[in-house]
Amino acid sequence: MIRRDLGRWAPIVYALLVLGAAIALFPFAWMVLGSFKDVRESNLFPPTILPRVWHPANYVEAWTKPPSTLGRYFLNSLIVSLVGTFGQLIVGILAAYAFARLRFKGRDILFVLVLTSTMVPGEVTLIPNFITIRRFPLMGGNDLFGNGGSGLYDTYTAMILPFLAGAFNIFLLRQAFLRVPNEYWEAAQLDGSGGLGFLWRIVLPLTVPALFTVALFGFLSRWNALLWPLIVTRSESMRPVQVAMIYYQNEYLTDFGLVMAASFMVTLPIILIFVFAQKQFIAGISSVGLKG
């Protein structure tokens, strides 16, 4: 290990790290402080640091100003993120279990297919997937050939469905399932309790950290997503929180206090999840990143 006594360098190292941390934190501090400044004060130059007059009304206004309130966007984001994450887990667990422990024809080729699909960048799939969603057969007034209606456009399904498989999750879960000691598998086969019961009772409880990682990052990426929800939704009542921020940016161009209040409310769930689950976050990143 490189750990050693830093001696006379210690204060300098510490000062550098604290300075860096201050820069990392500054936008959050500026957001929170700004969210309490009224429209006049947020447009002062030079800016005030602490609000001269605390103006918590920004939060009320930011919540109630959009036509269907910020609550609606929150609900949309919650539905998309929770259902998306849950679906990702189910689809991922089943596939990963089969790839890790079952034998079937074409298994290795299919697994390679799953892995290669991570190489396809989102830009390439963006346009065809948008058209696929609009022309989804038998949905939204479409006929069997995808004509006539709007397909899955402007629905929750459009925001959830394309991300359910998550090749990377399948890979991660498969690695975790492979690490379950062989004795368990053999014992289960002796008992004749293979299949889903074994997966549910033995494998999943043993791989909770990996499941948690997949769930956390699934939720995070749905919550923070912009591009896909932006193009597959039209009505404000379907849009998630990050697309709502575009609405605030348009409507309140110079009322920075109000926009900061909305920003803070939208970011707060992620900050809270992160604070409570940061060990899993960091362990997840470290294992996904390199050792996989």
């Binding site: 346009i127 399948i170 970011t267 940061q278």
Partner: protein, 354 residues
């Protein structure tokens, strides 16, 4: 003994049965994932190729063969300006912007992350809290937090200009400034000479520079955590051996830590480059009010129009060149693949695996 034998026999029988019976179960379990991957990841490649052969707005209008590619590779690279003089085409310019952005973000992020991780690895107090703080921007990076940057760099009332004023530097218009940073800095320093240099070839604009700052800020934490994981894996015997041989701290870092972390650096260089080529959200959010009044992202004067934003513009904002946008997206795909392969060849050779 006999008991063990029957147990083994039974286990073998069950395994044989499992092999036989799971033939269908396995396929059924992977089926949902496969269907979704095929529809939304595999089929789109073929579909994108098909779309790129059409003039297409809300639907296919006419089959145009390779005309979209011709537009991309001919007009896209060399075009003529208002005076009929040759000028850099849209595609070439947005590739250039993408390269500036990537070069601005990736090396700086990797070097800073290595230094921070190295320092964080030392026995200091509050390491956990510091690590949490460095990681926070990565998990919260979104439109919401990008808008904070928009306010910080507001030319009228932003705290960035206040800071410039406090340290005696001239105020900037930041996200509204299409002039290259290099020109601004040199002009301020009183150096003449690059004033006539074409803006396209003089590095990132001030606006792009602000976006680069945001991207470094938001991706640093991820890189730090990956480096910390790499540092934890280095066996301590190597350092002890080095210290017995009388190596200084700097020599240990130069000859032990850095080479042993080269797989990590290699991994990060690939991941960061790919995500830099795909960056969209911060550019869209920070520049959509700086364009030519059309509400299009990529301004001012298209100096933040990376290739991804260019695809978005043609596909969605103008919505009239879907076939062309598909062609550009396929070229981007080819570029990303090629870059990854090149990185594997060049850096992969120099990487030390333990």
């Amino acid at each position: 003994m006999a008991l063990a034998d029957t147990a083994t026999a039974r286990a073998q029988r069950f395994r044989r049965e499992a092999r036989r019976t799971s033939g269908w179960a396995g396929l059924i379990y992977v089926l949902p994932a496969l269907i979704i991957l095929v529809i939304f990841e595999v089929w789109p490649i073929a579909f994108a190729i098909w779309i790129s052969l059409w003039k297409w707005d809300v639907g296919p209008l006419s089959f145009v063969g390779l005309a979209n590619y011709e537009r991309l590779f001919v007009e896209g690279f060399v075009t003529v300006d208002y005076d009929d003089k040759p000028a850099v085409g849209e595609v070439a310019r947005s590739l250039l912007v993408t390269v500036y952005y990537t070069i601005g973000v990736v090396p700086v992020t990797i070097v800073l992350a290595f230094l921070i991780a190295y320092l964080l690895f030392q026995p200091i107090s509050n390491r956990g809290i510091l690590r949490t703080i460095y990681f926070l921007p990565y998990v919260t990076a979104s439109v919401a937090i990008t808008l904070v940057f928009g306010w910080i760099f507001n030319p009228r009332v932003g705290v960035a200009n206040w800071t410039m004023e406090l340290v005696g530097l001239p105020a900037q218009t930041w996200l509204e400034d299409p002039i290259p940073v290099a020109k601004r800095v040199l002009a301020w320093a009183g150096v003449a000479g690059i004033g006539d240099w074409p803006n396209n070839f003089a590095g990132p604009s001030v606006a792009l520079f602000v976006i680069i700052l945001f991207s470094i800020w938001s991706s640093l934490g991820y890189n730090v955590v990956i480096y910390l994981a790499g540092l934890t894996d280095i066996p301590s015997e190597l350092y002890e051996a080095g210290r017995i041989d009388g190596a200084t701290g700097w020599q240990l870092m130069r000859h032990v830590t850095w080479p042993l972390l080269s797989p990590t650096t290699f991994f990060l260089s690939i991941v960061n480059t790919i995500s830099a080529f795909q960056a969209f959200s911060p550019i869209y959010t920070l520049t959509r009010n700086t364009g030519m009044g059309r509400g299009e992202a990529g301004g001012p004067l298209d100096t933040t129009l990376t290739i991804t934003v260019y695809i978005f513009r043609n596909f969605y904002e103008r919505a009239n060149s879907v076939g062309y946008a598909a062609a550009v997206s396929l070229v981007l795909f080819a570029i990303i693949l090629a870059l990854t392969l090149i990185q594997f060849r060049i850096i992969g050779r120099k990487v030390h695996y333990q």
